[in-house]
């Protein structure tokens, strides 16, 4: 099964992350051409492919795109929280000023 995606709408990382949970049953191949990517899904066992795999995979990829987009907003904050938890610093205010957009 081949699925087409537009890289302007969804990133290759979202497509790969979404593939992860299916790897026990399917092999995924990604072919990029310009801003398009073709995802080829091949069943590993007995050649059977789940009928709704395309919609399940597309929805999973969209959710991963949301994760990637929202993480851009909070990634540095998460790193600061973990750093502050284990090695507290006394200049959090200054560091926060640096990460403001």
């Amino acid at each position: 099964m081949n699925l087409e995606f537009d890289l302007k709408a969804i990133s290759i990382n979202a497509l790969k992350n979404a593939a992860y949970s299916f790897l026990g049953d399917y092999e995924f191949q990604f072919k990029t051409s310009g801003t398009n990517v073709q995802v080829t899904i091949t069943p590993l066992k007995n050649g059977l492919i789940q009928p709704d795999i395309a919609s399940i995979y597309r929805n999973a990829a969209l959710d991963h795109q949301i994760r990637i987009e929202t993480e851009k907003d909070y990634r540095v904050i998460r790193e600061m929280i973990v750093a502050q938890a284990f090695e507290p610093c006394d200049n959090v205010d200054e560091l926060v000023q640096k990460i403001k957009p």
Binding site: I77, Q84, A85
Partner: protein, 495 residues
């Protein structure tokens, strides 16, 4: 629609039936309708909306005061990871490999009682060295757990270890607890006297259900079921040291999977105050007998839900009787605290929270690591020997650091974006045994499948938010009968 100027704080999400479950790194969670979720991620929630205030108070978004929020979340995160500050608290000692039983699922690959003791029992010299090693742990409180085989076969070694630890500890001042993991069949007057003299020793035993279930897997070397002896010794022990010092684990097998209600009734009738529904580990004899013992994870989850509903009903009738695994997970989900369950934490508890000293002084990062060695000869998780290595050699080794490093689920594929990650943990030994490498593959991992199933079940209860069930859950978390924690006193009977 215009965007509002709020920003996101770290969170994970998963579609949960018709709604979205959000959880942040410190375990706070909420359910959103999918349309509200869409508005949330597109920054379309107005600050005047209740949902905005809810998400802000639960620290999924912020519009101001970021330094203070980072401080608060850092404190909450540190609290959740408190187990890291104590370092190794659980020290398991295999005082003998010999056992008078021959259980169908024996993880430890025990040897017969008449085996050569030089090849099976811990020497007093090794025992002394293990105690010294355990007391070097920086943890202010430690637990020394006696494992086997059947540890009471080597009761003399246990006595020596307890005496040595108590004596050495006079100058160290740690809180020490001891646990003997025993099938109870060798309990004697001498052992009871010893337990009466040493109040900091508790007993952990095994009971798989009523006689027909228990004896299906737990027989002596001649193939005779152990239930009747177990019950006699249990009553003797209970009447002498009290039921508070005795707990039991049950192992879920195909023999009791569909009869868990009978198992729970057996526990209640025997006077146990809780039950731990423990799935079978595929190690040792369990691996050899896997054809007889295997069951499907989905079947486990179906029966787990049924029995949890039954246990909740018992509690609502006034019997305080928690399911221990559920209680651990609920404590992680509903409170800010860390729990001491070494089998499910990130980084994994291997070596840094719990460690096991084999009869010959070899040190393994977990009981499963020792079982792996017994089953396959693979010493991948052996991190030293008490006679050859110092505490620093063993616990600061690059080998242990690598194991711990690879067990941080925050950075593992599949776990990194899992909504249940704040409550879950890694199991590098199981990954290695099942899948051939420490990282493991979540998409084909039975443990992951099972944990996700249990988390889904618990979050379904939490989403429904039934006041009575929530009272039961809080009674388990607070370790008090339901009639002592309910908002309306007298709502529940006391039994």
């Amino acid at each position: 629609m215009s965007e509002f100027p709020y920003r996101f704080l770290p969170f994970r999400f998963e579609r949960f039936d018709r709604s979205i479950l959000l959880a942040n790194d410190v375990g706070e969670f909420c359910f959103l309708d999918s349309t509200v979720f869409d508005r949330f991620i597109h920054r379309q929630l107005s600050p005047s909306e209740e949902m905005f205030k809810n998400l802000k108070s639960k620290r999924f978004l912020f519009d101001d005061h970021l330094p203070e929020i980072i401080e608060q979340l850092a404190i909450a995160y540190r609290t959740k990871k408190q187990f890291l500050f104590d370092f190794t608290t659980l020290h398991m000692l295999v005082v003998t490999q010999r056992c008078n039983q021959n259980c169908l699922y024996c993880h430890a690959v025990s040897k017969s009682q008449d085996s050569d003791t030089c090849e099976t029992d811990m020497s007093l010299e090794t025992a002394h060295r293990c105690v010294e090693m355990a007391l070097m742990s920086p943890a202010p409180s430690i637990k020394i757990e006696f494992q086997g085989g059947e540890p009471l076969i080597a009761f003399g070694v246990i006595r020596s270890i307890v005496d040595t630890a108590n004596t050495l500890n006079e100058n160290i001042g740690k809180n020490i607890e001891f646990v003997i993991c025993t099938n109870l069949t060798l309990i004697s007057a001498e052992i009871i006297d010893f337990l009466l003299q040493n109040k900091n020793i508790s007993i952990s035993t095994s009971l798989d259900g009523p006689e027909s279930i228990h004896d299906a897997c737990r027989c002596d070397r001649a193939g005779v079921g152990s239930y009747r002896v177990f019950k006699d010794k249990f009553r003797l022990l209970q009447s002498s040291i009290g039921k508070e010092r005795i707990s039991a684990l049950m192992t879920v097998t195909p023999y009791n999977l569909e009869r868990l209600k009978e198992v729970v009734n057996e526990y209640v009738e025997s006077g146990f105050n809780s039950i731990f529904l423990r799935p079978l580990n595929k190690f040792g004899a369990a691996q050899v007998n896997w054809g007889k013992l295997n069951y499907n994870v989905d079947d486990f989850l179906v029966h787990f839900k049924e029995i949890l509903d039954y246990i909740i009903t018992l509690n609502l009738k006034g019997h305080y009787f928690p399911e221990v695994y559920t209680t651990i997970l609920l404590t992680r989900i509903l409170t800010p605290y860390s729990t001491g369950f070494v089998d499910l934490q990130s980084p994994a508890g291997t070596g840094i929270s719990g460690v096991i000293y084999d009869y010959n002084g070899d040190v393994y990062v977990s009981d499963e690591a020792r079982m792996l060695q017994r089953t396959t000869g693979d010493r991948h998780f052996c991190i030293g020997n008490v006679h050859k290595n110092t505490w620093g050699d063993i616990f600061c080794s690059s080998q242990l650091k690598e194991i711990v490093d690879k067990s941080c689920i925050e950075s593992l594929a599949g776990c990194a974006w899992c909504v249940f990650q704040p409550y879950c943990g890694g199991d590098p030994v199981n990954n290695y045994a099942e899948q051939g490498e420490i990282y493991g593959h979540r998409y084909a991992n039975e443990m992951c499948h099972r944990h996700k199933g249990v988390f889904n079940l618990l979050f379904e209860y939490l989403r429904k938010n039934d006041p009575e069930i929530m009272d039961v859950f809080w009674s388990w978390i607070m370790n008090k009968p339901i009639n002592q924690i309910a908002i309306s006193p007298g709502s529940y009977a006391a039994v």
